[in-house]
Symmetry: D2
Subunit: 404 residues, 4 copies
């Protein structure tokens, strides 16, 4: 398991200069079918409709998260006391944390019965995957990696470094998405962040001298969410995909045959444990069957697929911009009374505080270490973070609707 | 034709900050099926096997070349005297100059009977394309754009700005490919280059005070060629593709049926005027049929497609590194005597001076304007450029060969 | 006044690529003795003690603010309707806005009876300066420039573009100070900010689509303040300077002769209208007399100057980090009872909301323009800005004290 | 000597992010009077007259060269086998290599009887300097550092890493000067260069796979020389300084009293072993006495100093640009027949191949290591380097002359 490559492998990367691979197992995992498949799934799905250079894949992000783990091991104080087993577990978990992503997974998860995190665990544990075969050569390794991804609290330090308010995933994707979209406000100063972190007794702290770096990181995250990830045009693109997927699901449940090469998609929708079918899915697969659906005999699929192809997206209204209330109500009524209206109209809320919370942990997770040894929650220490948490912070509503 | 958009369109771009679209016709062309198809063709094809972040498309480069044309119009002295018609012709030609590229076109052109420049002209002139329909609303516009691409010498200034030793195509792709691969030595100082250029009587000159910027640009180009475009691993990836395409061609000429969804590819190989089929081709199309060929009953296709999928590429030997001559000869003999050896072995020469010459123009094209009004060839003025042209400059040979 | 240079002048700049000078009057002002003097005054004074690369001068910032004004004229919607006179007034005011800065002016202003803004006005209006001679060739130009600097509300648009919550001064210095210190969180996306601004009826608005860019800009400003400008070590350096200046003032008022080449400094302290003496002051002048004061017969000056030279700075305590209260009280008592204690101890409050307010204008100054034409205050529109204004936001206290 | 600091010291740097100091002796040397003096000497002297942001000091470059040595120790293969003593010797030599630089040393060396390298050795060995006191605590350390600087061949590896064709000095200053001037073509890819280097048996080799990085580095160097260091305006500024220094020297030898605070300068000119006087010299000292010389009773000094102050520099003619020969001859004759003509006219040759050679080593120093273990000179291996060395490469002549 700790075998090193005879000659270190090196990947050029615009963010870090180089990504280094020393362990043979890491190199094998990178070459696995499941990790290579991430080359064919774009990191930001529909975002490239509005930021056209956002064409980078989940593969480059996975390598990036792995490299960020390397940097954490090298630069964060206290990491030198972590065992080699946990370090390797960390590197592997970082590399594999997104291996369960499907194409356009934001939209996809809405019709699927499980999340991409669940799929990651399944791929790691399924005996037929390359990834599982490589990990299974060593005792409990596959189980331990799955446990880190599933947040089972067996390796709390590694879990928090892989997925928390301040983790290698976010640190890579904020930098990377900023670089590839050209949205410079997403740049984070990861050197400074790493130097502000300290591991004591299996917990991560931020030194009070580094709190400003963390504040800047949280703001960058906030800006990337509102400027890039939540961009209304990108969301309009995903809305049309959601409606296509939903219509496929509805027809399939009504046993209506769908005239397109959509087998793998249907298999996965029926059974999310069909890993073989899941791995077959990638961006080209989905783009391919949507192209075919432009000839569908189903009116809804035909209309939506044609619009998708021609990039005739859903319109949107930002409620924040004080649109005319009467117009809004008329719109709502129009679609409620329309046949298939549910595929053509949706109300969405983008939560303004979302960036401060994750599903499994709270902003309070970030603990500040004072020079006198005391510990404070970040929002107690930083009045700016406190302000940002305040309930006064409104949510942003949007309406998406489709017009011929 | 000169109609402006009510509201300027803006594309975010990491290289230029913003790409601006003012003319309606430009906006329409960007939305055309043929230009949008470039989103599905990677700019650097197999290079992403070695520089994994090189995932950017020909679409982003086409927008970039268009924006560089915008910058030339704004910043190069003397451009203010060019007519609005020629300026628009320039912008359109820059946007469309690569519209005829196919997937993996380097390898593809080897089995096709025409170049991507020819295909660009065909797409512009073919009555069934969106691009032609948009251009045909205005007199001779389609013909004039085609004439610029074909270097017919009707608009020599625009031709040289679109394609020459110093053009908007190269200025964008060097910067862009450097940015997306992380190869910083490809960065060029285009601000300084634009300020050193001057248009007089329909000809482009470089002011003597700007010669250093041009020297640096030529060196960047040289380095991008050797470090990125000619990288042996990228070339090994394309070598395997070439052999696959060649085998398909050979089988097709022998009327052997190929068991894969390869209709469009075959149609184009039979008739490069089948624009409908050509436009159907993109990276996913080719990747898709190669995946299917891993089950081919033809031994050669089966073996090559399987290797392609698993990224088991051709080996290579750099002759520059003084390999053992006997070994080389044995290798050569082995493949000459092997059945199907021609698909598994190739000798390639990468020309060391290639970067100084283009098919249709010579380095002498770059003319230096001295303060006293005299004009000199760049290689007369710059001893460094003169040195680089010298015949002493060797070619670099490589052998690619395939081993199970 | 509107005479253009025969050949545009160009300054290379790492931030903007190039700074262009087209008007002869701008070129003359740049060459004036008072603007050239800014080459000898560092933009960030004591900050280079902690960020050692912060060695850039107020001259480069003045050119930068001028160039930012150029960019505002070119890129901000609505600026095309401003008269050429006001545009030139804007360019000149931007170039000259800091011409009244003295060496280490933060510390200097504490013993002087006027601010650097006052000094700027005096230099512009004083008949003996180069700047005044150049401006006085044209009617009311000198008076108008002074009026913009003094915020007399004669040219409200130009005033707000030169000095407000969102002005060419801040936009240049945040970018520039970030670049020269290496503090990347100070980077602002000025392209996006300029595109979000709109001038209507002599007022500046921010389009609602650009509010995120403004939020990011305010956060960058906040971070630059806390990370760079308020850095405790930089402040400790200025504290020692303040004590030196204060001691000089006290001795001078007591008619004690000070044994150093300090004539210009004393003249200015006596009469801030002595422009000739003021212009003689620069960093080397102050550094020079402090070096001489290391041999002073006055105990306080001797001790402080020697410490300054050896970079033996004031110690500091951050109250935010919960220091021991008893220790603090003991410290306070010690210095209160010490002879000359007032030169060796000071309590300072760095206001946490300061970044949202300027002396002469309020955050409410930033007005958001909604798509429906309505106007809102930024803090009404942006919940993040609202949160940041909240009174809950604490001030940061520091104690500086000197120990042998 | 190997004592480490309790808490690592960190300097922020825009080029490397951070500069780390672990050894106490390094920290002490940085705090020494002689190293701190470098804060007051600009790295590029007169270059800031043309690139106004080139205001960085030799101090920041010295820290940078030290950090580059850190990077060499960490990243170059084979460095792990070097003894800790030699590593520390390397770090110290890198930090101190420029400690003997005076203000405007290019011009200064012309009237001084020794080079800045000699002065560095003197400062290291002189018993009265802080630097010597710190080094002298350990056996032969001072002598060994001096020996590295003087190229005595006692520590050939360290010597070549500190000063050769490919050393930490050049690698830092090319990057740094490019960053602070904004001349982007000076950027070098030091990560790649370090990875291409290999130390075997106390010698530095470049792996053949890294030759392109070295070619790019040599070209960057060439461009920085011609675009920045040899910029005619910067040289015109230094020409006027040279004439001032020369006139001072001539008057002093004729025992004419010079009416300015110029004691330290004269002391050093008389005896370059007067280290105390030498250390007193810095940019403000020289700028200060030139300001005083504007009132000099000596006609030449008066005229030159006044011109220096007003930035009324020497004119120049580039012979490369084919000036009129008759004009040149007339000019030459005019100054030959003029009283004091020697102070107002000079012919200079900037050698076009200079960038390939250093005083003490040859381009052949760079040795290429082939995969088969063979070694070749860089110019044998790289046809581009061979071309650049060719004797055909012309020299560039310039004439500087002074007109009232």
């Amino acid at each position: 398991m700790y075998t090193k490559l005879e000659r270190k492998k090196v990947f050029r990367d615009p963010l870090y200069g180089y990504i280094d691979v020393e362990y043979k197992i890491i190199s094998d995992l990178i070459d696995s079918r499941e990790v290579q498949r991430l080359r064919r799934i774009r990191q930001l799905a529909g975002v490239s409709m509005v930021f056209q250079t956002a064409e980078h894949s989940r593969f480059t992000h996975s390598l990036g998260a792995y490299q960020m783990a390397n940097l954490v091991i090298r630069e964060v104080m206290g990491m030198e006391e972590v065992s080699e087993y946990e370090k390797l577990l960390f590197l592997i978990s970082a590399l594999l944390h997104d291996v369960g992503h499907g194409p356009y997974s934001h939209a996809f998860e809405k019709v699927l019965d499980c999340t991409h995190e669940d799929m990651t665990v399944k791929i790691i544990l399924n005996k037929d995957t390359d990834v599982n075969k490589i990990l299974s050569k060593y005792d409990n390794l596959a189980l331990d990696v799955a446990s880190v991804i599933a947040h089972d609290n067996k390796y709390p330090l590694i879990e928090s470094l892989v997925s928390s308010q301040l983790d290698v995933d976010r640190m890579d994707y904020l930098s990377r998405d900023a670089y590839f979209t050209g949205a410079i406000y997403g740049q984070i100063d990861y050197h400074r962040i790493l130097r502000s972190m300290k591991v004591i007794d299996n917990k991560v702290y931020v030194k009070s001298s580094g709190v400003n770096a963390i504040e800047a990181y949280l703001m960058s995250r906030y800006h990337m969410y509102f400027q890039v990830y939540y961009h209304p045009v990108a969301r309009a693109y995903e809305s049309i995909l959601e409606s296509i997927f939903l219509r496929i699901k509805d027809l399939h449940q009504q046993n209506v045959r769908i005239d397109a090469s959509i087998q793998s998609f249907l298999k996965v929708m029926e059974d999310s444990n069909d890993i073989e079918a899941y791995i077959d899915l990638d961006d080209s697969n989905v783009n391919g069957f949507i192209k075919q659906l432009t000839w569908s005999s189903d009116e809804v699929l035909n209309k939506l697929a044609t619009s998708f192809e021609k990039r005739h997206l859903f319109n949107f209204i930002e409620l924040l911009n004080e649109p005319d209330e009467k117009e809004i109500n008329d719109l709502k009524n129009k679609y409620q009374n329309m046949e298939f209206g549910k595929y053509y109209y949706k109300e969405v809320t983008v939560s303004g505080v979302a960036y401060m919370k994750s599903k499994k942990s709270d902003i309070n997770d970030i603990k500040v270490l004072l020079p006198n040894g005391n510990i404070k929650s970040l929002d107690q220490y930083s009045s700016i973070v406190k302000a940002l948490r305040s309930s006064s912070y409104k949510e942003i509503g949007r309406i998406f609707y489709f017009e011929d």
